[in-house]
Each structure stands twice: as C-alpha cells, then as structure tokens.
Symmetry: D2
Subunit: 398 residues, 4 copies
C-alpha cells in the first residue's frame, strides 16, 4: 500500500473521549455502540456484564464490557504446606479442551499419594533501575558508595508504601552503567506499582545525594513478564516448591504407568529442553498457571516469568519423587484484578480472598501445577495424549 492509498485519519477515527473516562454503564454502552457502528459487528455478549461497570475503573481503560472465559473446577488436591493445609478445589479459566481433565487427574493422584508438601522459599519482588556515569571508574566509585546507603534507601522507599519493605539492594555494574537491584517484600499484592513508586523515590534520593548519576527506573534486568535465566536464581515474587512421593500403586491406578516409564519421559524431555536451550524444565506450567491466573484476577502477563522453573522426577525404591520449583511466582490476593466479582469468587473457593492469603495461595498453585506435570508426563508415556485431545477437545476447525 503506497502512502497515497492510506486512509485519511481524522479526529473521528479516535476513540471517543467520555466524561470521567466513561466507566458508568451508559457510557460503556455508548463506547460499545461506537465500535459496533465503526466495524459493523454486534457486541451483545461482550456487553453482558453481571456487575456495575464502574467497578472496572482502575483495571482497564476504554471499557466496552468483558470477555467471558469458560471456568471449570479441578481437584481436589491435598496440600501439606506451611501456609496451605487441607483439601483444595482449584478454579481454572481456559478454552483449551482436556486441560482441566489433565490437571484433575494429577491432583487426585497426588491426593491419593498422601498429599503434596509445599514451602515458600523466598518472597521478594524485584525492580532494577539503572544509573549512568561518565566512565567505568566513576561507575565503580558509585558501586562502592551504594551499599552503605541501605538504611537511607529503606527509609525513603518505605515512606511511599504502607505494606512494602525494602529487603535488599544489590548492584551489577556493566561498563559505565550500574544496574541496582532493589528487592521488596510486597505483602499480599503483586506489588509492581508499589515497587515502581518506591524505587523511583529511592532513585531520586540517590540522584540528589550523588549528583553525577542519572537513571532510568527500569533496566529490563528484573525480567518482569519476560523469560530469563536470571529469574531461576534471583526469583521474583514467591519462590515456592512442591513435592510428593508417588507410590507404585498410585502410579498404576491413577496415572496408568510405572515409575520407570514416567521417569523416562522426564529424562528424555530434559534432553529436549537442553537441546532447545530452554529456561528451566517443565511439562506444562503455562497451562495451569494461565488458567488459574485468569480465574483469580492475577496479572496474566506474569505467566511469562512465573512459568520459568524446574520440575524434577526422581526414581526411588518406593516409587517416584516428583517436585517442582517456581522461583518467580508473582501472585496476589489483594489489588489488581483480584477484587473483580468473578475473580473474587474464584479466590474464595480456595479460601484465598483478601489479606494474609498470598502465601497460602502460592502453595496451592504450586501443588495444582505439580498435578499437571505428572499428568502430562503420564499421558506421554501411555500415548493417552492423542486420545484425550480427540475426546475432550474440539479445537479443530469445523
């Protein structure tokens, strides 16, 4: 298309600006009607929202309604954790047929095996501003100056938030640029906005105290919503682990395979992961995480960092020890989309709605996702995968 044939773009092509950003139901309808007219399509289902659209304020702009994503229930899974204890049913929102069946099978097998041990190993979100200097020597001097400022930085950072705690400051100098990794405890919130605000205040204090430095509040290093190897060691949000011993009889009855067969899947696919230069190893983290994140109002884009982890299967005389470690599980039970009506209900199913529930929720997520790891492994070794998708899925074009 040559420039000559480009459509004329006028003010009438821009989305309508409505009073108070237009969150009341009448203005949401007007915006929807505007799009319907522009595009000639009916948006009746999108417009069908079961709650006051004013509630959307703070979660979205230019609202026209809601996507309805199918929600089902998987489980139960028996969790023996530090923060989660008992039998849980896990809501999952997805349109991928057979997904819930796969997770359900794995969760039941784990439950029959006596439950899943879980533990939170760390709970610290990360943000990494970057500072600029005229040369490597000036940058090195800053790298040396910084550690002694921790208490100042903590005071400044924590003055911007009621819940956040500055837990660590660590710098990585690359040439004449110094990337400063702030670690924060963000309570039950995902905490990214809290982090940005606190880090920006800390950076402004640094710049005032050390005038030579200029900075950007983001360097890309923290790998928020990006895949990176750094996440495996530095983590992001909750670092959580879950593990269980699957006895031989549970393997046979619920997963239809032997410990040796399931281990062989792990071993051969570990070679596949190494060959692809993958980050970590997993069978299907993204499936379970995405479905739970959508159901419970998490920032779903965080699946990209949350899905970086390591699943391990280990043969032992009594059966197969299965575990996973998710070093970058950024989940919340307050803030963001967690307060939206369907999402709040979904969190409540697990007793995870509101304050003081994020660690419990993280442990349930880890246990549920482990269910998917063993179920997928079993489906590969028994050849059930193809059959299950033929049976449950319909995502073939018709």
């Amino acid at each position: 298309m040559s420039k000559a044939t480009l459509p004329e773009i006028g003010v009438s092509d821009l989305l309508p600006r409505l009073k108070d950003q237009g969150y009341d139901s009448e203005r949401v309808a007007r915006r929807r009607a505007w799009i319907e007219e522009k595009t000639g399509v009916s948006l009746a289902h999108i417009g069908s929202v079961s709650f006051e659209t004013e509630e959307l304020r703070g979660n979205i702009e230019n609202p026209i309604g809601a996507a309805q994503v199918p929600m089902g229930i998987a489980g139960p899974v028996l969790v023996d954790g530090r923060h989660a204890k008992g039998l849980f049913y896990v809501p999952m929102a997805t349109s991928e047929g057979a997904l819930i069946r796969s997770y359900e099978r794995g969760m039941v097998a784990l439950t029959k095996a006596g439950g899943v041990q879980t533990a939170i190993l760390a709970d610290e979100n990360q943000i990494v501003p970057t500072f600029f200097f005229p040369g490597v020597a000036a940058a090195a001097a800053f790298s040396e100056w910084l550690p002694a400022q921790f208490e100042h930085l903590r005071a400044i950072a924590e003055s911007t938030t009621r819940h956040g705690k500055l837990t660590d400051v660590k710098s990585y100098q690359v040439g004449r640029q110094v990337l400063v990794n702030f670690g924060f405890f963000t309570g039950d919130a995902q905490g990214m906005n809290m982090l940005v605000k606190a880090a920006d205040a800390a950076c402004q204090w640094i710049q005032k105290s050390y005038p030579i430095a200029s900075y950007f509040v983001f360097s890309g290093m923290s790998s928020e919503k990006r895949p990176s190897g750094f996440l495996l060691t530095r983590g992001k949000g909750k670092r959580v682990t879950a593990g269980a011993l699957l006895p031989h009889d549970v393997l046979r009855m619920y997963l239809h395979c032997t410990a040796e067969q399931l281990f062989r899947v792990w071993h051969s696919t570990a070679i596949g992961h190494l060959s692809a230069n993958a980050i970590g190893y997993n069978a299907q983290y993204a499936n379970g995480l995405t479905a739970i994140f959508i159901a419970t109002g998490q920032d779903v884009a965080n699946v990209v960092n949350a899905a970086c982890g390591i699943t391990n299967f280990e043969l032992q005389p009594e059966g197969l020890y299965v575990s996973l470690t998710l070093p970058a599980l950024t989940v919340a039970t307050v803030g963001g989309g967690t307060g939206l009506p369907t999402q709040r209900e979904a969190l409540s199913i697990m007793g995870c709605n509101g304050a003081s529930k994020a660690k419990k929720f993280a442990e349930i997520v880890a246990a549920a996702v482990l269910g998917g790891e063993i179920s997928m492994g079993a489906a590969i070794t028994t050849g059930e995968f193809v059959a299950a998708h033929e049976h449950y899925g319909r995502n073939r074009p018709k």
Copy 2:
C-alpha cells in the same frame, strides 16, 4: 501436618460426575452448587453466563461458569501489511490499569507516523517427537535413513487432517536419541491438536518401517508454551515482523520525547536483558499479547512462546526506526476458544473471525504490540510511567 492429621479423602470429595459430562445449564448449576456447599462461598457472578453452557463443551471440563475479564478497546492502528491493510481497533482483555492507555498511545503515534509495515515471514507450527535406539551408531543410521522418507511421512501425516500440510522434517541426534522436528502448516487454526495427531501417525509409520525405534510424541524441544532460545530461530506458528519510522515531530507530539532519548532506553535496557540472560529483547510483549489472546479466545498459555522475540530501535536522520519480530506467534481465527461468543465478537471487531483470517490477525497483533513497545520506552525516558500508574491503576491494596 503429620499424616495422622490428614483429612480422610472419600468419594464424596471428588467432583460430581454428571450425565454427558454435565454441560447443560442445569448440570453446570448443580456442579456450581456442589462447590458452593463444599466451600461456603456464593458463585453468582461466575454463574452469570450470557450464552448456552452447552457451547462450553470441547473448551473446558467440569464447567461452573465463566470468568468475566474486563475488555476495552485500544487503537486505532494503521497497518500496511501483506494481509492486513487499513485502520484497526484492537480489543484487549485485562485487569491491569494503564495497560490499554499505554497501547493506545503507541498505536496512535504509529498511525500518525504513517502506519506500520508488517509481514509474515514464516507460517509453520512445530512438533518434535523423539526416537530411542540401543546406541549412537544405530541412532546415526536412523538419522541417515530418515530424510528420504519425507514423501511417505507427508502422505501419512496429511491423511489425518483436512487442513494441515507437512512442510519439513529435520532431525537432531543427541547421543542415542533422535529428536525429529516436524514442521506443519496448520491453516487458520493454532493447530496443536492437529499436529499431535498427524505426528503420532507419522511416528507409528516410522516405527513400523524401522522396527528398532521406540518413540515419545513429545520431546519438549518444540518449546510449545515454554521459553527457549530455539524459538528465536526455528519459530512456532507465525513469524511476523512489524516496523515503522517515527518522525521527530510524531515523537515529540505523541510520545513526548526525542529519538535520542527513546533510543537510549532501548540501548540501556538491551544491556539489562543481556545481563539477565533473557531470551530476546522486549519492553512489554506479554502485556499486549495476553490481553489480545484473552479477548480473542487464543490459547493464552501460548503467550509464553509468543513473547519470545526481538524489538529494535534504530536512530536515523529522519527519526527513529522501530520494529519487532515475533518468531513464535501462535494465533488462530478458527478452533479452540475463537468460537466462543465474546471472543468471536472480539475477533470480528478486527474483521478476523473465521477462515482465511489468521495471517491478517497476526499482522494486526504485531502492529498493536509494537505500539506498546514504543509507548513503554517513552514512559521510561519521560518518567511518566510512575505517574500513569498512579493515575490509571488501582492495584494497590486498600
């Protein structure tokens, strides 16, 4: 929790098995009521579905209703592609405040700059079964035998599908294991189930023809829903690129910064990505991809592979050339969740519902996501990021 205190797990704890899997509205309600009773929470909003629940069959199991994810509109974005041409409005479903505002700003800037060029560079989904041999010599013999079987494999594989085409077979031997990469064209479908079925048939033919080999249909190498370096070169689904020259005046008026400033963000955060050993480079692919995937019924877990790509900013006299390349964009306009009521409406907004629309849709997605890349970069250099999230977001705990 000692084993002694574990709850007794009985049949009554398992989810109720209902007739025909229970997709009619009465049985969905019954299942929901069962969960409500088990957990003591009301699920009225989840139960509020605007369409016949029988439509959920094939997309989910154990349905209890739907998650309502806020949907808004960003744009317009002017696209000058091979398959998409014109002005598009892009539906995005998210609960992250400020996200749509960020994308909207970027799309408008691209439009004012004269639009975004896009191109589909490849269109091939991947699956990588793995074959096992007694030793490296036997595996090497198989590696040599395989290439000549391409036509046989194609005939077998294509006999299982109306739309799929086998486009490539390439093997990677690692020790005595041979990972066989099948490339498929899957039309307008995401195609994973199509791939599995076709690959399994091809593998069975191989095993019959070359009896020494056993196999698993998955090796993990294809990086479906996993982050890996392999995706950058081998790709998965559509490999799509989008680029535009942002003139100085557009930068100033719509992004409030200079070309040099925006480039400096790219440069300094590229160092951050390298330091974190990230896969590729991007500002916020996951945000835009996730919001579009939820809105349009994509398999949202595919965001993990789709978000592996490279954004580039290049200074030139007239302004800043900005581009992105997404080598693993697995998007569909038929199958999976694309036929669900709200999702079908969302696709229709872009004229992308149904057959022969997947390439067009992929180009629009690439253009929209490029809008987010420049908008985020600008927010970093101008310091607007903090302010914007204070203003639009509400994801602070209350």
Copy 3:
C-alpha cells in the same frame, strides 16, 4: 591516575617494526631483546624454540619465541567409529595437574567396556553476514528473493576456494535486518578464513544484484568462539557423537562406583546446569578439548563453541549407557597451527596429520572427551576428586 600523570607515549614505545615483519631468528631475537630491555626481564626460555622461526610466519605477528606447554599422553581409547577405528593414544597439553590421569582412567574404562561408538552427524561450518534495508517490507522482499539465488551464490562462493563447498543458505529476518546463514563444508581445515572470503564474495554479488542492500560480513549470530544456544541445533564444524555401554563390572573395577551412583551424579548436576541456565550439559568438556586443541595446533579459542554440547547417562539393566554430542566441534588436520612442528607430531601420534583426517580426528576427540565425562562423574560420587587433586596437583601457592 590523572591525565597529567600519564606517561608520555612516543614512537620509542611502539614495538619495533622489522624487515619483512621480522620472522628470521636474528630479528625474533632482536625483538625479544627489545622487550627484555623495556621490562628488565630475561626471556631465555621463551626464546628457546626447536625449529626455524621463519616457520612462525602466518601463525603469529611480533614473534618472540614460544610458550612451552607441558604435554602428556592419555589413553588408550578404543574407538569404533565411521572414520576412526582402533586403539588411540591422545596427546594433551595442559598445566592442570590430575587432568590427564582423569582422562586416562575414563578412556581405559571405555576401552575395557568394548570401545566407544562414534559418528559424524554433520560437517558444516557457518558464517552469518547481515544485510540492511530501509524498512521491514523491503527486508521481507529480499528474504523472499534470496532462496532462488542459491546456485548463483554457490558458484560465486566456491570460486574463491579450492576445498570449500556452499551447502546451505538460510535467512533470519529481524526487523529490517536480514541475517543470512551460509553453511560451508570446509574439508580438513577449520575453514574460518575460507568462509570469510567466500561469504564476502557472495555478499558482494548480492549487493550488486540487489542494490538496495548494504551488509556486514559478520553478524555475531554464527557464535564463532562465543557460547550460544544456537550452536546446539545449528552446529558449527563437525557435529559428532560418541557413546558406550559401561557394564556393571567395568564400572566397579575402573570407576569404583555403581551405575546408579554415576547416574545420580548426572541427574543432580543436570539440575545444577538448569539452575545456572547453562548451555547444554557437560562435566568437563573444556578440560579435554583445550588440552587436545593446544597439543594439536587447533585454534584454541574455538573451545568456547566446541564446549557447547550434551552429555547423557542412561541407566539400563546391563549397566550405564554414556554418550556425548558435540554439535560445534571445529577441528582441523590441515592449516592454522596444525603444521607447526610439535603440533604436527601430536597429530601424527593419532594418525591424524594432514588431508582426509579431520573426521577421524573429530571422532577420536569425541571418544577421548567422553572418557573425561565418566571419570569426573565417578570422582564426584566416590569423593576421589579432592584426594586426586591433592595427590597430583601442585597448583597451590607456595
């Protein structure tokens, strides 16, 4: 040091320029004397070269003599390959105590197990020039034009070399840049200079035929002497594999451990590799490769790419199947340092000096390096590692 205190740099500080670059022994001595005077140190040992210094021409500039690197012999290793067959003794040059003892033990164990199967899976060096275009659409047009030019490119490229063969051209477009991967067969030479010359000729032809394109002959993508995930699939030079079944009695007698113990080392350190986001998996490739490369006149810096590979240990009833795959083994038996006197002798020990020997040599290298993998693994499980280094090493400061 302030600029004020910087030493004055004059012509007398530059290295002396000598007639014909100064390779005859008198001028080498004069250069050495110049350095001795500048620095006040005696370089008698460096000056002790057993051959005509004129032979150094083409291998080094500003010569002052030679480093004497201790050389020992490891082996024998019994190889059952395509190109190497029989019992081989492997010269290794190193100053790391215990290294040769470690490799020797492993090679003998492999020999007692009945030998090592080896195979060359691919033999293709890579170079990836990059072409620049005004925008993504122009780049996409070039990407489409290129494949049909293969025969032209082959003719041009092969006109610059007697031995090289252009085997493949594959392009990767990233934004408005197109990285063009040329695959070459380079015979028995490492071939990098051959590649550069041929690729440059091909690029010049492209630029003449497609005038819009400018280019650089290097893009960094080929990962020559750099670590990258791309090497695992695309390879560089020889892709070679080696494998053997270690029966239980050989494990016990020569490696002092069981199959289960050795496997457990593999398994637990595979988790360590995944945690570190390593490229591939290995125990000590770099030790063996470096020692052989120095002994035989390879371009030792190629160890960085050559050490990217995958070692696998697999339990089976009869013992442990051990294998390795080196996808980027860039080794030569002609050219470079292979013709230098001590290096030529080292190659001759293995019957690998001169033309038509590179594949044989690559197979011997793979077999020898596999010896190091099993020996290191055994030392970890038995705790012998500490003791061996106390016994054989002296690299403690005195």
Copy 4:
C-alpha cells in the same frame, strides 16, 4: 566394526608405569620412545624442552615433553586502573595469524585515546555443592537452618587453607535438593583446588551437624569451565571492567572509521547475539583471553567461563565510549602453570609474576581484550577483516 574384529587389549597397550611417576628426563624420554614405537612417529620437537622435566610434576601426568605455541607481543596499552597503572606489553601465544596484529592495533588506539580505565568490581570464586533430602519440606528446613551457620562454616573452610577466605554462603533449593553456593576469596591463585578442599570440609561439617543430608561437592551450578547465564550476575573469580572514550580523531587515524560506523557494528551484531541466544555480547573475547592464558600459564579451559561478558559501545558527542565487563575472569599469578619457565617469563613482562599481582594482571587483561573488541569492530565496518586475514594468515590448506 563388529566386536569380533576389535583389537585385543592387553597390558602392553597401557601406558608404561614408571618409577615416581616418571618425571625425570630419562623416564620422560623412555615414555616418549614407547609412544614413538607404538605409533611409528618421531617426537623430536615435543621432546625439546628447555628446562628440567622434573618441573612438570604437579602440572601434568604421563609427560612426554611440551607443545611449543608461538608467542608474540602486542601493545603497548596504557592502563589507568586501581591495580595496574602505566604502559604494558602483553605476551600472547597463538597460532592464529592476524590475531596479534588485531589486538595491537586496538591497544595502540586505546593508548592514543589517553588510556583505559579499569576496575575490579568483585573478587570471589564460587563452588556449589548440592545436598539431598527425603522431601521438599525437609530440604526447606535445611535451607532455613543454614544461614545461621556461616561462622562455623567459615572457621572450618578457612582451616584448610592459608590464603582462602569464605566470603558468602547462599543456597538455592530446587525440589528436595539444596544447592549451596560458597563464595571464596582465593588470593592470587585461581583457587579451584583450594575451593574444593575447603568446601568439602564445610560439607562434611554440615553432614555431621545435620545428619539427614547427603551431598556431592559439585552440582554443576558454579559453571566452572562451562558457559552459563549465571556467570553474568554471580561471577567467578575477578569481575573486572575496562572502558575508554575514543575521540573522533583517534577513531579515524587508528581504526579508519567513524564513531557512527563502529557503533553500527555493535548495534547490528547485538541483534545477531540476541538471535543466537548467546550469553552476553562480545566481538572476540576468546581470541585474546586464550592467547594470554596460554602465554601466562592460566588454566586455559577457564576461557569458557571467562569469555562470558558484555562489551558495550556508546555514542557521545566527543566520540565513542567503549567498555567491557568480564564477570568471570579466573586468572592467577601464583600456582597452576604460572610457575613454569616460559609462563613465568611471560607474566614478568607485565610485572605480574607472583604474589599480590592477580588484580593488576586482571586489569591488564581486561584492557588488552578491550583492544581486540574495538579492532574487530573496526575491521568489520571497513571490510579490512578479509584483507588482513589474507595478508597475515596462512591457515589455508596447501
């Protein structure tokens, strides 16, 4: 080759075992003669060693002589560091023609630009033993117990060494395995053997104090001699940086290009590195590091970790700011091969022989390697690369 045709392996095929391991010149000659007879080749040059072969004890086993690797001199390079100050000539041992010329040009350009700033940012070697537990909860309890034991661990670890200092203990739990990262200061030695001994003592103490734990002293995570992303942030040995501003006139006179041209090489090859999923970014670290490591008696296999780093070029009004950061530079001035005759002489050329010189040496290495980065970049943009290798190299098969 069928098993039937395998050669008979007898005692006479094993390398001769000689008295006191056979380091005296007579026994070295006897071993050499044995190989000469077995293989029918003369090893006269390998046997030509300019010093007492007893000096090889501790550096090699089964010695037969030495490889003579051509050594030349590059430089001078003006260094303005913390530990190195002044003008240095750098010995490099290589057989790659044009390598020294390339480094020399870059070093002279840096010198003419006013010298290179350098700084040591960290000095800590790493070893990561791994501990095993029955389940994830038991492992988590250990992870919590460990930090308080730091003083005990330090006392135990430092009791095994005169020079080493335990600087850090950090653990990474993955499932039921806990990888414990010990950081050590190892003085002027490379320190790996020191580390292994100290870590093993610490691990034995842990096992006594916490009986449930078993361990391996290596987990692979420290990435000793392996390429990994972890090295970029955690480092290994010296983390060193070097930087300089190249004014426009120096660029033109010594590198024959403009700042913009050289920057464009960086930018376009950064895209190449990202596309290949490389670790870090560099032009030719491995060339310079390998040549210096061989010349000075470093453990050359450490080039694999040392070559993981980041080179950055940044445009500014006065010219181009060039820098590199090597986070895993494991270099020594005592121990290992540093005391061998030619290697000791090479270290002395830079005033880096013996105690208290490792940091100075590391800074000189960084400055020299930076010379190679700019020189290679310039060769790419000017097209001189092809010509230089035609002129100086002879590594074409004849």
